[in-house]
């Protein structure tokens, strides 16, 4: 029984990890919380639905289109919402407003297109569950877990081993200094948004598979935020660990309290956690320079 809970938790956690990592990427480099991220997930999930999934293509094309759509939307957001603010050196509050405005815009556009109706991705898998010694695992969960792991692995490789990754780390540490060292920080920021958008696309698609497609799908982004807070804002590893913990905590709460209360209890846990360890698990609390 407890193994079942663990498995469910990890399955949920791996989707949360995708949300959290995309959010943390942008936070890491621009030091603000990108609230348009949730709506980006919605837009890309719907784009994939209308362009590919509803026409009967399989999982892989759907995921690809969703990821590409996420990247495009994210890049658009960077250009429209954040570029000028960054160049003007405006206070971070403007990033915040810009991001929630973009969120409103995306969600509004999706609502105009689909109204308040529900959509479902077609079933991508013929046999939907596997049974291992009493533990039921749905096939989609396994595939999601594998794809999430691959995506995170590729990201880790890019950040740790490539030139782009090094530039990305440099810009996130000190944008101006990086610029002076000949790094094109605008380009790096664009790349970050693209990466973040890809994760938004994947996460949106997975959420669509797990639940239903609605214009408010993006509000599940709150799970990613909570994961980030638990893991430590700005830490990529922390975001993943936080997401797994949140997934498992939720699965346990689900078992004990039932579905409606799980959200509430996990929120309370996060609040307590913040009181005890505000810097998060990774402990890389971003500090303002003195």
């Amino acid at each position: 029984m407890s193994l079942q809970i663990l498995v469910n938790g990890i399955a949920t956690g791996s989707v949360y990890a995708l949300i959290a990592i995309g959010f943390a990427l942008v936070f890491n480099i621009l030091k603000f919380s990108n609230f348009s991220y949730g709506a980006t997930m919605t837009v890309s999930a719907f784009t994939a639905y209308f362009l590919v999934a509803s026409k009967g293509y399989g999982l892989v094309p759907t995921l690809l289109v969703s990821a590409i759509a996420g990247a495009v939307v994210s890049l658009f957001g960077e250009f429209v919402g954040f570029r000028r603010i960054l160049l003007n050196n405006s206070p971070t509050t403007y990033f915040f407003v810009s991001s929630i405005t973009l969120a409103t815009l995306y969600e509004g556009l999706v609502t105009i297109k689909v109204g308040a109706s529900f959509f479902r991705y077609p079933d991508f898998f013929s046999v939907s569950t596997l049974n291992f010694a009493g533990t039921v695992i749905s096939k989609s969960d396994i595939i999601m877990f594998i794809i999430s792991a691959i995506a995170l692995g590729i990201l880790a490789f890019i950040i740790q081993k490539t030139r782009i990754g090094r530039a990305l780390r440099a810009v996130s540490f000190d944008r101006e200094a990086a610029q002076l060292m000949g790094i094109n920080s605008t380009l790096i920021i664009q790349i970050t948004f693209v990466l973040s958008g890809i994760f938004a696309g994947l996460a949106g698609c997975f959420l669509g598979i797990k639940y239903t497609l609605t214009p408010t799908l993006g509000s599940l982004v709150v799970k990613g935020f909570i994961s980030s807070v638990i893991g430590g804002l700005g830490s990529l590893v922390g975001a993943v660990v936080g997401a797994m913990l949140l997934g498992i905590a939720e699965a346990i709460c689900l078992k004990i309290f039932g579905s409606g209360w799980a959200t509430i209890v996990t929120f309370a846990i996060m609040l307590l956690f913040l009181l005890v360890r505000p810097q998060g698990i990774a402990g890389s609390n971003v500090q303002e320079k003195a």
Partner: protein
């Protein structure tokens, strides 16, 4: 006429809430995506107290506001010491939890169907008076030492601390005042509409308020009031455009943020000094123009 009075009342209720957002966002530079949840607390708590306990409206208002402030304190406690991002993230999570909670406690709140049968005691004069009182209170607050300290904390927290300002405390005060005002707006709302449902208190509503504040000018109370009035009145008159409302808002705000980052009014306030200065400026411009010609 009925439409006009309806719009007036709704605008006034929004103004009360926007006053709260102004204190939090305009003065202190913090963003809450859970303000609407405090409105929900106000709306449900006051409604329930009156329905279930039969207490007079005023008493239920006061109790509801106190309850919102108490909950705000618990939410605020861990976050006021941290970076400002935390308050946005935590309040967003809080907002979603409250929405869930209202649905889950359906024996009390009527669940997703909403709470019905609240006496419709709030008419437009009460709403108007409440808006005026709230605006006055916030204007007084802005000109007091608290308002100054809020702006100092927003501008430079470290320097503010170096001037003996306890920035966590100031942030908490601003947050609680904002909770109280939004809860008050919630009380007014439920007793005006006669029913409340959990659907309208999502993060979208909070985001809507922040957008209103930024539209008119985040540093100016006058601007925020102005922005809120326009943005909440317009869609009421153009019901057919309802779906496009958010899109149109969003585009307007993106334009403003990119090209006029201080909002329409900047720091301008409706006070004698500012009006005098503006007149002087116009006069100077006029004199210059006439000299040139």
């Amino acid at each position: 006429m009925a439409l006009f009075i309806n719009v007036l009342t709704q605008v006034c209720i929004t103004l009360v809430a926007v006053c709260g957002i102004y204190v939090l966002t305009g003065l202190t530079g913090m963003f809450s995506l859970g303000s609407a949840a405090f409105m929900a607390i106000g709306a449900y708590a006051s409604g329930l107290i009156t329905i279930k306990l039969g207490l007079p409206v005023i008493v239920s208002f006061i109790l509801a506001i106190l309850m919102a402030v108490a909950i705000g304190f618990i939410i605020g406690l861990p976050v006021v010491k941290l970076r400002r991002d935390y308050i946005s993230l935590v309040t967003l999570g809080f907002g979603e939890s409250i929405a869930q909670l209202l649905i889950q406690m359906n024996y009390l709140t009527g669940g997703a169907n909403g709470l019905l049968g609240i006496p419709r005691k709030v008419k437009w004069p009460i709403a108007l008076a409440s808006a005026i009182v709230s605006i006055t209170l916030v204007a007084m607050f802005k000109r007091s030492k608290y308002g100054r300290q809020c702006i100092a904390v927003k501008s430079d927290e470290l320097a503010a601390e170096a001037m003996g300002i306890n920035s966590s405390r100031i942030k908490m005060i601003a947050f609680l005042l904002s909770c109280a005002l939004t809860a008050f707006a919630g009380c007014l709302y439920s007793f005006y509409m006669g029913y409340v449902d959990p659907g309208i208190f999502g993060w979208k509503k909070s985001a809507d308020w922040v957008i209103m504040v930024f539209f008119g000018g985040v540093n100016s109370l006058t601007g925020s009031i102005f922005g809120a009035t326009i943005l909440s009145a317009l869609p009421q008159f153009m019901r057919s455009l309802r779906d496009y409302r958010y899109v149109v808002y969003a585009i307007m705000v993106i334009l403003i943020i990119n090209f006029k980052p201080n909002g329409l009014l900047g720091e301008w306030e409706l006070t004698p000094t500012h009006i005098k200065e503006t007149f002087k400026k116009i006069k100077n411009k006029f004199n210059k123009n006439s000299k040139e010609s």
